[in-house]
């Protein structure tokens, strides 16, 4: 039970890293809290659901479609909302209000459009994709069922989301540390005023980061029907709270700290569910309070401030 819980926590945590990654990138670059983050995840989930329902499209290509679609949506949305927000006296606090409002609007519109009922994508859809990839590497046909990992069996969707999360983290890392735009993004994250003084087009850099943030949320949403049971227009708020806890644990403003935050959250959650199941949902709040009291800058806090 211990080994299973540990591995399950790791996989589950990787998924929560993916969920929190976009939120932290947006906070790191713009110092604003996107309280509609979970709602963009929900929209990504609905996009995957409709792509599957209408065109029988497997969720794997839907990840790329969701990412690109929402990254593109993010650019004009940034220019519509964020520059005005940043001109305010206290943009961080105002962002709470603005994005909370946006969250409510998104949820209401989605409810009107799709209704309130739960929606899902059949569980074996990700299993097919995992089997194809595993079969490619194994050189023979692989079963579409659960996947064995270090002697323990897990749903294929967990492994798929773990792999996708790992890839997303790697791509964000490459973007931040191996591309010119990434260097500029880190410069803005480090000190926005200095970045402006050195002639960096801060709004362009921020708009791209905002788009990537939304794209990552939508990509995480594609896995939501598999990892979170089903999807509804109302799921966003809960996801936002959890992802907020994840990024605070890892470190606010440090996208890569989100990985650590996600894994700590995932493992703690699964152990809690195994041994004190009734209390499991308290965990995000308990961890949030504990981190704020003991290490307010998060587990990787120091690196952020001096990046």
């Amino acid at each position: 039970m211990f080994t299973y819980s540990l591995l399950a926590g790791l996989l589950f945590g990787l998924y929560f890293s993916l969920i929190g990654l976009g939120l932290n990138l947006v906070f790191g670059v713009m110092r604003i809290v996107n309280l509609a983050h979970g709602d963009f995840l929900m929209l990504g989930a609905f996009l995957a659901f409709w792509l599957f329902t209408l065109f029988a499209l497997n969720p794997v290509p839907a990840i790329a479609i969701a990412f690109l679609a929402f990254a593109i949506v993010g650019l004009p949305l940034y220019y519509l909302l964020v520059p005005r927000l940043l001109r305010a006296k206290d943009p961080e606090m105002l962002s709470f209000i603005l994005f909370f409002g946006l969250s409510q609007v998104i949820e209401a519109v989605t409810t009107i459009a799709f209704g309130t009922s739960e929606r899902s994508i059949p569980g074996d859809q990700l299993g097919h994709a995992v089997a194809v990839v595993a079969g490619f590497f194994a050189g023979h046909k692989v079963d579409t069922g659960p996947v064995e990992l270090l002697g323990q069996t897990f749903p294929a969707s967990w492994v798929a989301s773990g792999v996708a999360s790992g890839c997303a983290v790697l791509l964000v890392y490459l973007y931040l540390y191996r591309t010119r735009l990434g260097y500029l993004t880190r410069a803005v994250m480090d000190n926005r005023e200095e970045a402006i003084a050195t002639g960096i087009n801060v709004h362009r850099v921020s708009a791209v980061a905002f788009g990537i943030g939304l794209g990552l949320a939508a990509a995480a949403g594609v896995f939501a029907p598999f990892m979170l049971g089903s999807i509804t227009p109302a799921m966003g708020a809960e996801v936002t709270v959890t992802s907020f806890a994840v990024i605070v644990i890892g470190s606010l403003g440090n996208p890569l700290g989100t990985v650590l935050g996600g894994i700590v959250y995932g493992i703690s959650y699964v152990f809690m569910q195994s041994y004190y199941s009734s209390w499991a949902n308290l965990l995000p709040y308990v961890l949030l309070i504990a981190i704020l009291l003991v290490r307010p800058s998060g587990l990787l806090g120091r690196r952020v401030r001096r990046a």
Binding site: S120, P155, A234, V270, A280
Partner: protein
Amino acid sequence: MTRLAILAALLASLTTAAVRAADAPAEIKLGTLYASSGRFASISMPVHDGLKLWIDQKNADGGVYVKAFNKKIPLKLIAYDDQSNTATAATLYNQLITQDKVDVLIADSGSVLTSIAVPIARDHKMLLIDQTGTGANFFTPDNPYIALMADPVSSVWPKPLADFLTHDGPGLGIKRVAMLYATNDFTGTQANTVRKLIKESNSGVEIVFDEGVPTETSNYTVLLNNIRASNPDAVLHLGYASNDIAFLRNVQDSGIKFKFLFCIYPGVETELLEKNLGRKALDYVFTYVTSSGMAYKNEFGMSLKEYKDAWQKKYADSKVEFGFNSIAGYTTGLVLEKALSVATSLDQLELRKAIFSLSGNLKTLDGTFELDANGGQIGEFTPVGQFVPGEGDHLKLLTLWPHDLASGKPVYPRP
């Protein structure tokens, strides 16, 4: 002289009736809440839509007959969206009573959003028309201001299940039972009842896994692994629709085979679960047989088929699935209609008396309407059934317990 007396009495009664009709309100105000979003939306909206369908039908017919005024009076629905939020619900229930001054207070669906209304209604001495809030602790001897319309009390729900396990279970080879439940009034009460009845049965059946999880739980993979480790002969999962969807999908994805799997909602909201999980995930799953799966012979209102047709016509966009909850909202309306037709005033305790006068005498789509002394619904009940593959690509729900209603034999172990 006798003729004169009769004429005088007739005139007096006609005058009284005319005065009563003249005093009649222009409309009967029904106040309720619904959740268009949030965790309970999927159980709230079907109930609300069912109630609205009844109201629209009655208003199209000139209203409902109200004995207190001896005439038909149109119904006015005052409904607010609590968004599944208990704090919002508390404010809105107060608003319905104190600001809107509704004649009839109807709770939102489900135990969580009803639990808020119970003390508020009682404090304001308003009768709470409880649609589907089944928590057993709502119904106490010191609270006359509640009556459960369309759903048995949570402690009544699992009795057939516990009876089936303790009577037929040992013969099938069921000795070890694992129970996982969501910790809310609805399923928590059911878990307590199952635990108690199994323990008291001395049937040799024992509970080897007994865990509660928060209602918000959306992933059961690790818990399933823990349940498997307890080596059960039967697994009971007691949760809401979203819990059942997540649970059954995790069972499917993890490849774990349980010999006996019971969930509440496959029989309650069959369309919703089939849409989410696919038919195969429900094959051989044990569940409750509710009014959507068993056509009770009703003496009042539309038949199940007529009602389903009316529902599908009115809600053709299919954003809200037809199921047990949609029948519950309509049933609430029918009971109210009957009560208004016998109540001599709109006084809350008179309404209660009128509703209680129907107890045991009214057959609805949910079965026999019968209340215990505290207002809990005990006439309707939930037989145990099992889904088996039917003709073509359809599921068939067999009734297994009680034996006098049985339409088939259990398939155990689950293939």
